[in-house]
């Protein structure tokens, strides 16, 4: 059998090495290599998807010895939770490369960093060895730091520095937790499958490890009050960086919350589930209200991420609290699907904001007006994505949030207060659409060109999938449910 997981994982790295070898290659060739490699990666991810997952445990496992003396190995594989995220990652990266084909500033370094980031992202989702997971997790930080510092907007140095310091501070406790789990396992190993099957820590040690992991993933998700790096990083990051940051990298946190915190310290997680639930609810509401207060379109989208990821945390916490296995699976289905939907919807929104900024060189909502007349395609795309983001039925977020709320109703009805977030989000998106796209067109914005072919190519797959997941979520949910139905924690 072809090691398709490893091929998917290392194809982007291969592309990066190719560009490094061809340092004199012209700009068009560099971008062509970027797009070509990521297209191959997507094809390879689709192949992985077609091979499917197993009802129990991990499928398509590939492993080679790495540091046998300390029980670390190169182990990769997927299950119903990681596979959709891998597909999402491969898709978003391909679209990002298409969108970025306009980059003329140091294109070699740009494409190399993005390809490195793609390998790191896919690696984070497919690693079955805790040390390997950590390696990929950290490489993604470094590449994102250089993305923001190298291609961001005015205050990029400061924002990049803050991003790097904040997230490194966030990720190091995970290293401690990993060491704790490693020393607790007997014989010592970094095999995540072993840790999931037999949680190595109990009692107070497990609780300490959980607290360390929660800190790491709460920074990454991000959960109120550890979210402060997110708006700062998004405002200064280039549009492509924002798409990857929100669409892919925030999922590291949510994925880690399920894979590590929930599955490896299940007892402690159940014990702390109510507190995690409260954090999730507060974060979702806070994100919605904070977004309401924004005048900058990009900051607005950034804060709605805090809101949407809050729902994911609510779903995971409800799954831990649920006693009925069906409800438990329902909550987790919703949480994982929410991650996928958020990747698609927020990806689309950040692309659109980036395209708007490329034309108008501002993101202040009050300065726009009536853009729908001059830029119908951009405008209607934004309207569709915004409606998806506020949870309109028939669009991507609806089935996910519906499942989360349904499970919440069965387990902890009080927490349904979180639905208030949807109302606020609806209000703020309607206001944003009104300010930017409706009303009388301003003379200042006359003559802005609508989306060109490259931008259309970026947007169409996302919009199709937003509707596709909304109308017929079953093709994703079936894969997710295969795993969640029997998930052991």
């Amino acid at each position: 059998m072809l090691p398709i997981v490893s091929i998917t994982l290392f194809l982007p790295l291969l592309g990066a090495l190719l560009i490094m070898a061809a340092r004199k290659a012209p700009v068009r060739v560099v971008h062509a290599i970027g797009i070509g490699t990521s297209a191959l990666t997507l094809a390879s991810a689709v192949w992985m998807w077609s091979r499917g997952v197993l009802p129990v445990g991990f499928a398509q496992v590939e492993q080679i010895d790495w540091m046998p003396t300390i029980g670390a190995a190169y182990r990769v594989g997927v299950d119903g939770i990681s596979l959709p995220l891998v597909l999402l990652t491969a898709l978003l990266f391909l679209l990002t490369f298409i969108f970025s084909a306009k980059v003329r500033e140091r294109p070699h370094a740009y494409v190399v960093l993005m390809l490195l980031l793609e390998t790191a992202s896919i690696g984070t989702f497919t690693a079955l060895d805790a040390l390997l997971f950590y390696v990929f997790f950290e490489i993604s930080l470094v590449s994102m730091y250089f993305m923001i510092a190298g291609w961001g907007h005015e205050g990029r140095q400061r924002a990049a520095l803050m991003f790097f310091l904040y997230t490194l501070l966030g990720s190091l406790p995970l290293l401690l937790a990993i060491l704790g789990l490693y020393l607790g396992s007997n014989p010592h190993t970094f095999d995540m499958r072993v840790w999931i099957a037999h949680p190595p820590l109990t009692g107070i040690a497990a609780m300490l490890a959980l607290v360390a992991m929660l800190f790491t993933f709460a920074v990454k998700i991000p959960l109120f009050p550890l979210h402060t790096w997110l708006p700062a990083a998004h405002v200064e990051a280039p549009a492509a960086g924002s798409v990857i940051l929100a669409g892919v990298m925030l999922k590291f946190g949510a994925y880690g919350l399920i894979r590590f915190a929930l599955q490896m310290t299940p007892e402690a997680f159940r014990y702390a589930a109510v507190i995690i639930l409260i954090f999730g609810v507060v974060s979702a509401l806070y994100g919605a209200f904070a977004a309401l207060a924004q005048t900058d379109l990009k900051r607005l989208v950034a804060y709605t991420s805090v809101n949407h990821m809050g729902y994911v945390v609510v779903g995971v916490a409800i799954a831990a609290l649920a006693i009925d296995p069906a409800v438990r699976a329902l909550a987790l289905d919703g949480a994982v699907l929410q991650m996928v939907s958020h990747g698609l919807v927020t990806g689309a929104l950040f692309f659109l904001v980036g395209m708007l900024q490329d034309r108008a060189h501002t993101r202040e909502m009050a300065r726009f007006g009536g853009l729908l007349k001059g830029l119908p395609i951009l405008g209607w795309s934004f309207v569709l994505a915004a409606f998806a983001s506020l949870g309109l039925p028939g669009l991507a977020h609806f089935p996910a949030e519906f499942e989360i709320f349904l499970a919440t109703l069965r387990v902890e009805p009080v927490a349904l207060i979180v639905i208030l977030g949807i109302v606020v989000t609806a209000g703020l998106y309607l206001r944003a659409i009104g300010q930017v796209f409706l009303g009388e067109p301003r003379a200042q914005w006359k003559g802005l060109p609508d989306l060109n072919a490259r931008e259309l190519l970026t947007m169409i797959p996302l919009l199709v999938l937003i509707v596709g997941v909304g109308v017929a979520p079953a093709w994703v949910l079936d894969v997710i449910h295969t795993t969640t139905a029997t998930l052991h924690f």
Binding site: R23, D65, W66, M67, P68, T69, I70, A109, L131, Y134, V135, E138, I139, L141, V142, F146, A149, G150, Q157, L161, F164, L165, L168, L169, L172, P173, L175, L176, L179, G180, Y182, L183
Partner: protein, 461 residues
Amino acid sequence: MTSMAHDLAFLIPEILVLLTGAGTLVCEMLRRPRTALTVAVSGLLLATALTLPLLGVDTSVFSGTFRIDALSIWAKLILLPATVLSLLLARAELHGSDREGTVYSLLCFTTFGALVLAGSGDLMFLVLGVLLSGLGAFALVAYPRNDAATEAAMKFFVFASVTGSVMIFGLTYWFGATGSTLLGALAGLDKAPLAAAVGLIAVIVGLGYKASLVPFHFWAPDAYEGAPLSVAAYLSVVPKIGAIFALVQVVRDLPVSGGWPLLLAAIAVLTMTVGYLAALVQDNVVRLLAYSSIAQAGYFLLGVVAVGVSPLALPALIVFAAAYAAMNLGAFAVALQTGRTLDAFAGLGHKNPAVGVAMVLFLLSLTGIPPLAGFVGKFLLFGAAIDAHFTWLAVVAIFNSVLSLAVYLRIVVPMYRQRSDAAAPIFAPEPMPLARLVWAIAFVFTLGIGLAAQVLLGRLT
């Protein structure tokens, strides 16, 4: 074979280093600096090669006074190549200067002292090692014969004499209490807690100065700044690792009841924190790297406190020593080629992408970012500390790692800033092929130890 010959056979690498130093000196007397360099490099490489058959040996020679164990063997395998790289750096920096060959000779002798330290099984060897690795180092620092270098060497010398005397004084208590100078006899100290404490503090003072542990670090930034950069690079790696390994040789026999793990843990916290906080405000790259190397010494102590408790401690110390030697020498080599101020690094990443990437990787490795060498070393050190129930120490170390990122990014950030032409030097610095060779080798090891740590680990456990 007589026992004397048997013992000497184990010491062939050390003897060879000594002969190499002497041979280098002869070449210098004949005014043949180039030959001196060749002799020194080939001698040390041969000594490294002759150490390889010893791998796995665990014994001692001369009635237990000198140890041939994992620490002393790996000290040779790490410090001898590190000295070779330092020799090449010295050639790149000091080529054509007066008495160039003496530098090569002194480097060999000082390394010999560090090797004696790393293998000492006796109090007398400890003292001998500190003196041997000190005497050459003073002269090396003073080599440029200008005011800065002379002042640096003076400070270094005074500091060394005082700490050295304190150590010798304190060690007499241990000798008095156990009736033996053998480190193996230290187990008997649990009956004499006062003598044990006095001796312990004395050893920490003496070796702490050499390893630049806080609060015995004050000489380091001044000495590094005044000395030739190649000498600073050397001092930050070779004698430091020798002293840390000597500390391990001492504490592995010391009864835990003396409370030394806690004392060393406290010094580790001080060293890491003070080192990085001070590095945060430096504008001079040499001083910044000096304070960084002080802080890194604190990380070594994470492994030292776990000695005897965690099986991870020794592998962690050895892997981190190898990683540290590679990444620190690499960073110094780039600094040698680029300049001593942060301004000199402005725009380096655009002007010379290869050097830029290498420097970024050295600095990220010093921070402990995977998959680089520094990460594997620190990861094992954290594991050893947690295994020895020093979880709090690992937590402090982690906070310091975040602090260290802020320190190292101070060099990285200007490297990728567009440089205004006004800041450009009037004369472009001369290309230094040897410095380039050194950072290229260091680069290979920084990446290689990170990805293939198993090669080391497989031979350690």
